[in-house]
């Protein structure tokens, strides 16, 4: 009997060592915390993702999945710093136009094939190929890869893209102009490798569970549209031994209050906190309600195009409106989730960005109000000649609250009549894009962690500059920043100019506000882009 038990225990032990990762039920290799038996992470997404094809995906929730399924040249760590992915290191030529990446030799696709430099060459050419019609082809343009823009425009053959495999483990990229943040850009899903043979075999169906072959820490095992998608451990991943979470489930729940209820019922490990509910949740569940800065801004833009209202062409009017908005009220009483009052366009959380000392940021609200009244009176608006305009935002409870508060502030302090006007998202984008508005809401989340991702928006050629603000000095400064040793000076000057000319009213900078299961550890709250990787997360035992 005793013999039998021992033998069985030994067999069980052996089985558990052989069958799966050693870490699944045990302790964390570095922290020594006891790990939960069930290493499944379930989180809520607002909307179904558009695709899990690295070169096609265009939304945040899709990119989150793609970052788990595929691995690019570099990854980000918990603080957003670059760490090796498929590439171990890179060298830059003296003219800063050629980047040579050294790839690791143990990276594998989930079908066991090695990941080579050719997989990247294939993927990058695929991204710019007009036949692929990638909505993120512009990202490759932004990366300034030689000939990229011409290929997208159909003026050069795809083969002329400035990327080549010197050998299986060496990737060489040629740029059309120096780009200091080029290495940061290869953490984006558009640049991830894709498996040529599998795409050739399955065509458009290659991303379906069962067909898909990927090189990241997870593989897609299930996907039900608008319900959920499931990704599970990829045993072939080079760092599989150190991956702790076995399974990650994304559940589509459109309604954020419903998602919160399901979180409370223990069905989810993570969900967003609806506006205004954070203080209550923090009090009830101090370990689970978390907030942290994000790389996004929220603003209102004046229509400065020829068709825009005459009143807004007067900088005094723009300044008066910007000054009279009490951002602390919006952040502390409306949103209540730890957002930051904004006086600059670029969030303070942006890497390497030093928030310039714009004058009105340091005034008290009473001073700002005083100044606003003066400026508006100088501009010729007052009780006899009241200023009135239309304020456009896309339909949403939170936007409505903010617009209401802002219009009330203007009414009370300045006697200004702002009429609220909301539109469904696509109509809103269409109307704003055609400059068919007076004052419109805008928001932007950085594509990469550098101030130019924001400040490029106020340059004349930017496609997102819906207010049509145009200042030759700003354009020059931003072009200069691309190649400058220290672009901060340019950014400071641009922000100063914005505060002086006020083409937009910065309102606040975002915070991520989550309910997060306190068993789930290592959530990268310091990664302002919120580029998280499931392979770095783990669940501790209760």
């Amino acid at each position: 009997m005793r013999y039998a038990t021992t033998k069985m225990t030994a067999a069980l032990l052996a089985a558990s060592f052989l069958s799966g990762p050693v870490l699944a039920a045990g302790t964390h290799p570095t922290t020594g915390e006891a790990l939960a038996d069930d290493q499944t992470f379930t989180y809520r997404v607002l909307d179904e993702h558009s695709s899990v094809d690295p070169q096609i995906v265009e939304d945040v929730s899709g990119a989150e999945i793609v970052r788990d399924l595929f691995e690019g040249l570099y990854n980000q760590d918990e603080d957003g710093n670059l760490v090796p992915g498929v590439a171990l290191s890179h060298e830059v030529s003296d003219d800063k136009l050629t980047y040579t990446f050294k790839l690791r030799d143990n990276a594998k696709w989930s079908n066991g094939e090695p990941v080579t430099a050719n997989d990247f060459v294939f993927a990058w050419k695929r991204a710019v190929n007009p036949e692929t019609a990638s909505p993120y082809a512009w990202y490759m343009e932004l990366m300034s890869i030689a000939n990229g823009a011409d290929i997208i425009a159909g003026e050069k053959p795809v083969d002329e893209l400035g990327v080549k495999a010197v050998d299986d483990l060496t990737l060489e990229v040629t740029l059309s102009q120096p780009l200091p943040y080029f290495p940061q850009m290869v953490t984006h899903s558009t640049t991830f490798p894709s498996p040529e043979a599998v795409i050739a075999e399955h065509g458009a169906d290659w991303t379906k569970p069962g067909n898909i072959v990927s090189n990241g820490a997870y593989i897609l095992t299930e996907h039900v549209l608008n319900e959920r998608s499931v990704r599970e451990r990829n045993e072939m991943y080079w760092d599989n031994e150190n991956t702790i979470l076995d399974k990650v489930v994304a559940v589509v729940i459109n309604d954020e209050n419903q998602a919160l209820t399901r979180y409370m019922a223990g069905e989810l490990d993570r969900t967003e906190v609806p506006a205004g509910q954070f203080p209550r949740l923090k009090e009830e569940n101090p370990d689970e309600a978390i907030n942290f800065p994000r790389l996004c801004n929220y603003y209102y833009t004046f229509n400065l195009s020829d068709g825009g209202p005459e009143a807004f062409k007067d900088v005094r009017v723009r300044k008066a409106l910007a000054y009279a908005v009490d951002r602390n009220v919006i952040v502390e009483n409306v949103l209540q989730g730890g957002q930051f009052p904004a006086y600059t366009f670029t969030p303070g959380a942006t890497a390497g960005f030093e928030v310039p000392e714009v004058d009105y940021a340091n005034w008290s609200q009473a001073e700002r109000d005083e100044k606003a009244k003066e400026l508006l009176a100088e501009a010729g608006y007052g009780p006899d000649n009241p200023l009135s305009f239309d304020m456009l935002y896309n339909t949403s409870e939170a936007h409505k609250k903010i617009a209401t508060v802002m219009s009330q502030m203007w009414k009370q302090k300045l006697g200004v009549e702002a009429t609220l006007n909301n539109m469904e998202w696509k109509t809103f984008l269409d109307v704003r894009g055609k400059q068919d508005f007076e004052l419109a809401r805008g928001a932007w989340c950085g594509d990469y962690n550098e101030a130019s991702t924001f400040l490029d928006l106020v340059t004349s050629p930017s496609g997102y500059n819906d207010g049509k603000y145009s200042n030759a000095t700003v354009d020059e400064l931003m072009t200069g920043a691309r190649t400058a040793e220290n672009p901060q000076e340019n950014y400071t000057q641009v922000e100063m100019t914005l505060a002086e000319e006020m083409p937009v009213i910065p309102v606040y900078h975002y915070a991520g506000v989550y309910m997060l299961n306190d068993q789930l550890k290592n959530w990268p709250i310091n990664n302002v882009e919120q580029n998280w990787y499931s392979k770095n997360l783990y669940k501790v035992a209760e």
Binding site: V52, V252, T427, D430
Partner: protein
């Protein structure tokens, strides 16, 4: 009768065509397009995408190609939004879900609604009647967008008996709450229609005659009163059934079922032209089919009706 069915099918074809043309035009007249996004695409990127999806063609050509694709290959095209999927795929996955919970909810609503209504009519002005009317009014004033979160709050959060959402291939515990949330308001309507129509029938001459000749009331109710009093109910049930099996956006949104009700609304918001068309056509065909079925049922129930 065969003649009638044939005629209905022949009328259905131009009806569907008109439906396609109208939806197509309506959809394309909405501001923005499937590829309007927060970051406007550079013109050359947009051109590539439009070429891929045929959006660079004139509208009549797009519509013509679309109809031909459906007629010759039963191909509803690729989804403009869910780029890993075709519309055929999407409907094949979503429709069984709504069909399942919709049919069950339908059966629940009909059985409970007719019973409630009949009992109320037969025991008019007794506590049973008041109770039944009370229940049906209660159900009516609790529309599914109130029912759904309420059910989840009670059965998921407080009691912990049932999951608050998901489908998981249609396991029973995932079906219960959507069915209750969907069925209640339909049940209420069916109960009210049954009650009033039954009251009317019970007061009619032929029932009085049946009573006068001394038939037992069980026989009067089941043999004479029930069938005619169901006529208005049946005309209500045709469209109701279609509405239930093509899904409710509220149910899909609250319970994350992955059904086509939510998809319909989302694809309209996303300007996912091909998906909207696919679901519109599906709903159209189902509506026409079930209206025809209702007409046939009418003839069977009421011998006075002849086609």
């Amino acid at each position: 009768m065969l003649n009638f069915i044939l005629r209905r099918v022949l009328v259905a074809i131009p009806t569907i065509l008109v439906l396609i043309i109208f939806s197509f035009l309506l959809m394309h007249s909405a501001p923005g397009g499937p590829f309007t996004s927060e970051r406007p695409l550079p013109p050359e990127v947009m051109a590539n995408i439009e070429a891929k999806y045929g959006l660079d063609q004139p509208l009549w050509k797009q519509m013509y190609d679309y109809v031909i694709g459906i007629v010759t290959q039963f191909d509803f095209g690729p989804s403009f939004r869910y780029k890993d999927r075709s519309v055929n795929d999407i409907i094949a996955q979503g429709f069984p879900v709504t069909l399942t919970y919709g049919s069950i909810a339908f059966v629940v609503a009909v059985v409970s609604g007719v019973t409630l209504g009949a009992v109320a009519a037969l025991r008019q002005n007794t506590w049973l009647d008041y109770f039944a009317v009370g229940v049906s009014i209660g159900a009516q004033v609790l529309p599914n967008f109130v029912m759904a979160p309420l059910l989840v709050l009670v059965f998921t959060l407080y009691l912990g008996w049932l999951p608050g959402g998901g489908w998981e291939g249609g396991q029973i515990q995932f079906i219960i709450l959507p069915v209750i949330a969907l069925a209640t308001s339909y049940m209420a309507s069916i109960a009210r229609i049954t009650r009033s129509s039954m009251l009317e029938v019970l007061r009619s001459n032929f029932i009085r005659t049946a009573k006068a000749k001394g038939l037992p009331s069980r026989k009067i109710i089941l043999g004479h009163a029930l069938k005619p009093s169901l006529l208005p109910v049946i005309s209500y049930l045709g469209p109701a059934f279609v509405a239930m099996i093509t899904g409710s956006v509220i149910i899909d949104v609250y319970f994350s079922t992955g059904g086509i009700g939510q998809l319909f609304v989302n694809s309209a918001l996303n300007r996912d032209y091909s998906t909207i068309m696919g679901i519109t056509i599906l709903t159209g065909v189902l509506t026409i089919s079930f209206n025809t079925l209702v007409d046939i049922l009418y003839a069977w129930i009421d011998p006075k009706i002849r086609y």
